[in-house]
């Protein structure tokens, strides 16, 4: 093994610092006893206390959780089907249909759904439109994770099951599903994280009817920055941290499949 030059290690360490310092700053200021994000004054939990008295914020959090649960649940079912279909039958058009919503700039999906909901479905923007939008972009992520898992598996186990007399449904229930389950759960967690975190598409599809945590954070950043933003950011970071760690434990290939 060749030794790595010292300057390379230094440069890499610099990039890692670039990745982490900003987040550490946010967390640190969430405990700062000052209205301004300027200098360290002293330790306090006031901003968290304030956060849990903020009715609007709590409502947004409840909305976010509800939307994430429903959309990632549906997306997991549909995405798993799409992943199986892409792997098993190798349609040429299916990957295109599944992956494009993931690959294109979010604003394009947001805008097209906005036009579609209002102009075609005459839907009042709200919880339903946001859930539908979140399902749309989550399907691709789940499908990619599931397909990556299937691609890494020995094809002959499915043939063996059929050979031994299992029907397609039995094969799925007794062989395929148990084998891909880690990927399915990882895909669910990923879709959940994406939904909780999504700002751009929600921004276009939520209308005035419903607010989510990211929308709430956005309006706070735009209108009046208070350390309450730091506090809610820290909590949200903690939540997604747990979700991502859980997903990566479940499915080793997840990080690569997500690309």
């Amino acid at each position: 093994m060749r030794r790595l030059p010292w300057w390379l290690i230094l440069a890499a360490a610099g990039t890692y610092a670039f990745l982490y310092v900003p987040l550490i700053v946010v967390v640190a200021y969430s405990f700062n006893n000052s209205r301004l994000n300027a200098e360290w004054v002293g330790f306090t939990l006031d901003w968290y206390r304030l956060l849990f008295q903020d009715e609007e914020m709590l409502r947004a959090a409840r909305n976010s959780l509800f939307i994430a649960l429903v959309s990632s649940g549906v997306a997991t079912v549909l995405g798993t089907m799409a992943g199986l279909a892409m792997h098993r039958w190798r349609f040429r058009w299916l990957p295109l249909l599944v992956v494009t919503p993931v690959a294109m700039p979010e604003i394009l999906l947001g805008v097209s759904l906005l036009v579609f909901f209002i102009q075609v479905l005459h839907l009042t923007l709200g919880m339903l439109s946001v859930v539908l939008a979140h399902i749309t972009f989550s399907i691709g992520f789940v499908a990619i994770v599931v397909r990556a898992r299937l691609a890494g598996m020995d094809e002959s186990v499915f043939e063996a099951a059929r050979d031994l007399g299992a029907s397609p449904w039995q094969t799925f229930r007794l062989v395929t599903l148990p084998l891909i389950l880690p990927a399915v759960v990882a895909g669910f967690l990923m879709a959940f994280t994406l939904s909780i975190d999504d700002f751009v598409i929600t921004f276009f599809t939520a209308g005035v009817g419903v607010s989510t945590l990211p929308l709430q954070i956005y309006s706070m950043i735009k209108i009046a920055v208070t350390p309450e933003v730091n506090a809610v950011s820290t909590l949200l970071m903690l939540l997604t941290l747990v979700l991502v760690l859980a997903a990566s434990r479940l499915d080793k290939g997840l990080m690569r499949a997500g690309r």
């Binding site: 990039t15 900003p22 098993r88 599944v98 494009t100 294109m104």
Partner: protein
């Protein structure tokens, strides 16, 4: 003979049924909520704006309102140099962000690829973790860091003062937009680069050295050309989303740092000229398709690695 039918005869029909039961639901959902809306936007880009926002009808409503299809929205785009300027600015920001990401990502990707196998997963996870935190939070963090009372701004302005220059505002500037873009998209560059670099056969570097290449030329003659597919796919993953991003300029940029994304957002949520917004979206889509095609072509597998 038993009464049970030979499974070989029942299988084709069962298989076809399975195929459609599995494929149809996700396909139908995506046709309805991805493809149909995309097509609607395409049509909308040729429509007139409605009186109170939205779209004017295509068929004549009989009340003298504007209706039908038109090329006016595209003509409007090309009529004012301001719009072309915003597109050019967006491409410039995207190109600079991509370049900055590449410079920052390469050492990390290399370090991970050359680390002992059991360290790699951890190092990759460390790249992913900040990326998992909310996108707005990551942008907001730079709002704090680049703020005028922070150490960064103080230091920069201190140095400027030494040379007798006026203090600058780091926040709400093109610089802040660039930093935000790079920060938000960096993992998209690191991961494909790492996946590529990990596959390199280390013996090729031995061979290059053996044949007279020093460290510098080993990099430029072997590692760099072999990593180009990773560079191209990483670049596409940074360039394309940056091109459509409106939130970063919205939060970190000044009033003049408007990019395509902000322009589109304004058409839908601000001035409510949907057809023009749709036309802009279509132009952005075309740009993205061309770029994605170019990236796919450039990153196509050549040689056996």
């Amino acid at each position: 003979m038993s009464g049970k039918p030979d499974p070989r005869h029942t299988r084709p029909r069962g298989a076809r049924l399975t195929k459609w039961v599995v494929t149809a639901p996700p396909t139908l959902f995506l046709l309805a909520f991805f493809l149909a809306p995309a097509l609607i936007v395409l049509v909308a880009s040729f429509q007139y704006p409605g009186e109170f926002g939205g779209l004017a009808p295509i068929t004549n409503p009989g009340d003298g309102r504007e209706h039908g299809l038109t090329l006016e929205n595209y003509a409007f785009f090309f009529s004012d140099f301001l719009f072309a300027e915003i597109f050019v600015k967006s491409f410039t920001v995207a190109a600079l962000s991509t370049l900055a990401c590449l410079v920052l990502a390469y050492p990390v990707a290399w370090l991970i690829a050359r680390s002992p196998r059991h360290h790699r997963d951890l190092l990759v996870l460390l790249v992913i973790l900040p990326f998992a935190s909310n996108f707005l939070i990551r942008v907001y963090a730079w709002m704090i860091i680049l703020g005028p009372q922070q150490a960064v701004a103080q230091a920069v302005n201190g140095v400027l003062a030494l040379f007798g220059l006026a203090p600058v505002n780091l926040l709400f500037s093109p610089f802040a937009v660039l930093v935000g873009m790079v920060y938000v998209h960096l993992p998209f560059m690191i991961l494909p680069l790492y996946t590529n670099l990990e596959k390199h056969d280390p013996v090729l570097l031995d061979a290059a050295q053996d044949l007279g290449a020093n460290a510098w030329r080993r990099f430029w003659r072997v590692t760099w050309p072999l990593s180009l597919p990773g560079v191209f796919s990483g670049s596409a993953l940074v360039f394309i989303p940056v091109l459509g991003m409106f939130a970063v300029p919205d939060i970190l940029g000044g009033t003049r740092d408007m990019l395509i994304g902000n322009l589109i957002k304004d058409q839908f949520l601000g001035v409510r000229d949907w057809p023009f917004g749709a036309a802009l979206s279509i132009l952005l889509t075309l740009a993205v398709l061309v770029l994605a095609g170019l990236a796919a072509w450039a990153a196509r597998p050549r040689g056996a690695t």
